[in-house]
């Protein structure tokens, strides 16, 4: 069982980006590019949102 929230972010982003890259692109190069963009968007988006929220702790 993975207990780290950050590892879940990486794991889930990888799962989703690999799936959609394989589903929507057929060329290996395109798959890598598209999957990479999704992965960076997901991980980067979450980290950016976390940073924006950091001045407002619960």
């Amino acid at each position: 069982m993975v207990k780290s929230h950050f590892l879940h972010l990486l794991l889930y982003s990888t799962l989703v980006s690999v799936f959609f890259a394989m589903l929507l692109k057929s060329d290996r190069k395109e798959q890598l590019k598209f999957g990479g963009i999704i992965w960076i968007a997901m991980v980067g988006g979450v980290l950016a949102l976390a940073w924006l929220m950091s001045p407002f702790p619960s």
């Binding site: 879940h8 794991l11 889930y12 799962l15 394989m22 589903l23 057929s26």
Partner: protein, 161 residues
């Protein structure tokens, strides 16, 4: 438009007829990835099977909530159930282990023993701090497989190579 014209008739002689394609889609729901394997996309099929079953396993091992249709919130809970059963019979097997039977609903009456038992099981699983991730993995596995069914349909109809 030009692309549609381009793709017309690319299915070739191996393209299955509607009845066979419906069977392939049904088999693809039964076993994630099998539809692609049957349409000769073996590598993709195996990878998709790994992703769907991997997500399902992550969901179950993190105490994800197997959704039950609740008459108090019928719309949202029905969508959750659909996302879960998208993964095929594996979901019903998982329910058998979690709830003791392949339950899909919570009885309406507040004192019904099944309701009390299923709500207690759901609360116990949700008490884990990671349960929310488990639930996301379970929904993802089901939705992945539902998307794969559309992909199988597109491949079978010759709209996608």
């Amino acid at each position: 438009m030009a692309r549609q014209e381009e793709n017309k008739g690319t299915a070739g002689p191996e393209a299955p007829d509607n009845r066979r394609l419906a069977l392939v889609i049904f088999l693809a729901w039964l076993v994630p990835g099998l539809g692609h394997v049957l349409l000769r996309r073996t590598g993709r099929g195996l990878l998709f099977a790994g992703l769907v079953f991997g997500s399902l396993w992550l969901g179950l091992s993190h105490q994800g909530k197997l959704a039950l249709r609740d008459p108090a919130q019928p719309f949202l809970t029905s969508l959750q159930v659909i996302a879960n059963i998208g993964v095929g019979p594996a979901d019903f097997i998982a329910r058998k282990f979690v709830y003791g039977e392949s339950a899909l609903t919570i009885p309406k009456q507040g004192t019904h023993p099944d309701r009390i038992q299923r709500v207690a099981i759901q609360r116990a699983r949700a008490s884990s701090g990671l349960s929310i991730y488990g639930t996301a993995y379970l929904w993802t596995a089901g939705i992945f497989n539902l998307l794969l069914l559309f992909d199988v349909w597109d491949i079978g109809r010759g709209r996608k190579w």
